[in-house]
Symmetry: C2
Subunit: 201 residues, 2 copies
Amino acid sequence: MRICFLGDSFVNGTGDDTALGWPGRLVADLRTRGRDVTYYNLGIRRDTSADIAARWHDEVERRFRTDEPRRLLFSFGANDCASDEAGHPRVPPDAGLHNATAILSAAKRIAPVLMVGPAPILDDAVADDRVRRLSDAFETLCRSLEIPYLAIFPFLSACADWRREAVAGDGTHPNQKGYAALADFIGRWPDCVTWASPPEA
Amino acid sequence: MRICFLGDSFVNGTGDDTALGWPGRLVADLRTRGRDVTYYNLGIRRDTSADIAARWHDEVERRFRTDEPRRLLFSFGANDCASDEAGHPRVPPDAGLHNATAILSAAKRIAPVLMVGPAPILDDAVADDRVRRLSDAFETLCRSLEIPYLAIFPFLSACADWRREAVAGDGTHPNQKGYAALADFIGRWPDCVTWASPPEA
């Protein structure tokens, strides 16, 4: 099975001294349970929904030239909500929803898709208020597209390891305990278990 | 510092149950020694020099939209040498050298570049004879371009962990001990130490 993880710095695993991030931990767990998974981490720091809309298809197409079963996971939105120099969101929520609709409705024609909601920025309360609302809007969108959606904003906002490591780091990105907590949270999500199961199961 | 690793399945870390591959191990080692490194693993299974020539610039450009110091590392060639259905190399050596010249001469204008030679395929002796010759030709090319080059074909051909894990796996890709041995071999390469050093050092 080939999995592409597309998103922002939280998908990239920025700040993780183990260099795994949560996608690496999720895949290592699948592999040690005997699953033949190859993964491509396509998280890019500072990427908004607009950046991902512009690149995801090209980058996925190059990695899915295979008859192997394919899976896609997206997670973005925090950088949409970050403030630009004028204090406005880098991508307005209407545009973010438009981008997410375009991405997800095309992606589901290629492979089974999961959407993981945006993470909190933590050191910007105004931006995090936007993230919370965008996460809710993405949840409604995904329900209408019949794509499983997991909100992580409430979990991470209350996760002591995540918050502590972010404060000790750059204010936003955790280190290995935070990413391990998120990998565990996503890995126990029943829709993720189903999505990662072999097609014949 | 932002590092892009571009290449084939051996860069991707295919077969590694830890989901790190050698780039993940190299970066984890740098980070635990206090270096603020973000990395992008852009290895794709089955990619030849032609595939990488077609995509590397787009994928790197999207990841280098930053003022942070940048580094590029390439490693390809094994898939050029693999046999197509007619028994010929998938990419003839002249074309492979042409692709490598185009990639590397453009890349060195963007960031400090390292080239790591192609890995053996192991379960195809005819193909590996081609890999050995292509590795030598890449070494000559890199000398003329003043790009540091590390041949890994001889090291991996003699590496017991690499060979044992490849046999236990799909015949070509090792698992965690093999990738750890390669990460160590590359990490101790003096040109790699210099390349990964902070610009101010």
